[in-house]
Symmetry: none
Subunit: 125 residues, 4 copies
Amino acid sequence: MLLSLTDLSDEPLQGQIARQIRAKILNGELVAGDTLPSIRGLARDYHVSVVTVQRGYESLEREELIHSRRGKGFFVSDINQANKKRMALKSFAEKIKPMIKVAIDEGLSSGDILESIHNILNREE
Amino acid sequence: MLLSLTDLSDEPLQGQIARQIRAKILNGELVAGDTLPSIRGLARDYHVSVVTVQRGYESLEREELIHSRRGKGFFVSDINQANKKRMALKSFAEKIKPMIKVAIDEGLSSGDILESIHNILNREE
Amino acid sequence: MLLSLTDLSDEPLQGQIARQIRAKILNGELVAGDTLPSIRGLARDYHVSVVTVQRGYESLEREELIHSRRGKGFFVSDINQANKKRMALKSFAEKIKPMIKVAIDEGLSSGDILESIHNILNREE
Amino acid sequence: MLLSLTDLSDEPLQGQIARQIRAKILNGELVAGDTLPSIRGLARDYHVSVVTVQRGYESLEREELIHSRRGKGFFVSDINQANKKRMALKSFAEKIKPMIKVAIDEGLSSGDILESIHNILNREE
DNA sequence: GTGGTCTAGACCACA
DNA sequence: GTGGTCTAGACCACA
C-alpha cells in the first residue's frame, strides 16, 4: 500500500494514515475483503510507531470501514456503493459546515462562497 | 462586546476569541478606530486567563486587523472594504481547499460537492 | 515648538518628546537660554497627559540639556559646541553597539556592516 | 545548547532566547535539521518558565527559521546560505535605520557616523 | 487605568 | 518523551 506520510504537516500521522486508507476504500481502490498491510509492517515501512498505525486503524474500525480477524490482520469491510457515497458526503458536509458558518459571519454571501468553491474545483481538475 | 466562549469545544479559547472578533471586523460590526475590550476586562467577564485573551489578540494583531496603543488599549485597524472581502475569501479558500481535495480523493464529483455546499447554504439561511 | 507625536509607534510618547527636543538642542535649532514650551501648554497642544510631558522633560534635565527655574519654566542649558557633538556621538555609539554585536553574531562581516550603513546614508541624503 | 540568559537586562527573556538561537542559525552554528532543546528541557536548565521559552521559539517559527514536529520537538528549517545573509542584513538595516535618522537629526554628518561605526568595529574585533 | 512579560503549576493529544 | 493550551497569580512601564 502506497501512503504519503510526513511529520511536517499539522495533520497528525495517525490521521494521515486513516485519511488515505479511508479514501482508498470509499473511492473503490480497496474493496470488501482486501487485506490491509500489517500494523508492524506499515510501521516499519514508513518509520512510524506501531502505536501510531494502530490508532489510525482504530479510527477506521470505529467507522466500520475495516475490521480485524484475530491473528489474521485487518480487512476491508463490506459496504455497498450507495453507502460509500453517503459516508463521503456526510463527512464532507460535517467538516465544511463550520467553515461556511465562519465565512457567513465574516460577511461573505452564498454567491461568494459558491464562486470560491467553483474556482477551487476548476483548479483541482 | 458579546462573545460566546466555551471550553467544551475542540477549538482553543484563544482561537474562539480571535475568530469571533475577526468576524465582527470583517463584516463591519466593528470599524476602524473602535476600541476592543481591555485584555483584563475581557478575561474577567468571560472567566478566562489574561494570557488566553492576549494570545487571541496577538493573532489579530499579526493579521493587522487590530493594533495596540501604549497604555490605551487595542483598536480596530483601518482596512478598506475591498480588502476585508479579499481577506475573508482568501481565508475561506485556504481552509476549504484541503477538504475538497479529500472529498475528491474519496470519489465525490464536482457536482456532488457543489450540491452539498448548496444544501448547507440553504439550511444556513 | 513643532513636534510630531503619535501613539501608533512603539516609541513611548515621553521618549518621542525627549528625542525631538534633544535633537533641536544638539543640532543648534535651540540654543542656550531659549525657553521651552510650558508643560501644560505642550500637553494641551498635543493632547497628551501632563505627566507624559513632564517625564520627557525630566529625561532632558537628567542629561543636563535643559533646566527649570522655579515659577518660570524650562530653559535650554549652556553646552558648548564640542560637547554637543560629543554627546550626540556618545549616545549614537551606545545605541548602535549592541546592534553591531548582534549583526556580527549572525555572521555579518565588518564590510557587510559598513556597506549597509553606507547604503542607508545614501538613501537618507 | 549554550545560552546566556539574564533577567537583569532590559531585553525580555523570550527575546534573548530568540536572538541567541537566531544568531546560531544565521551564522551556521546550527544547520537545517538540527534539533533544538525541548521547550521543557531548556526551561528547566535555565530556570525560566516553559511559556517564556515557548514564546521565544514562536518568534523563530514566525520567521520560518525553525519548525515543530508533533510529539518530536523543534527543528532548524532549511534556509540557503544566501537567504541567511539576506535576512541578517535586512534585520540589521531595519534596526539601524531609525538610529541613523536620530543621529542625523542631532547634527552628526555621514562622516561622523561612519567613523563611529568604524571605531566600534575595531574595538569588537 | 492600559498592555507586556513572567512564573509555576496543570491537562491534553501525539509519537 | 514531545509540543499546545490554559490558569491565576505577579511586577513593570506607560498614559
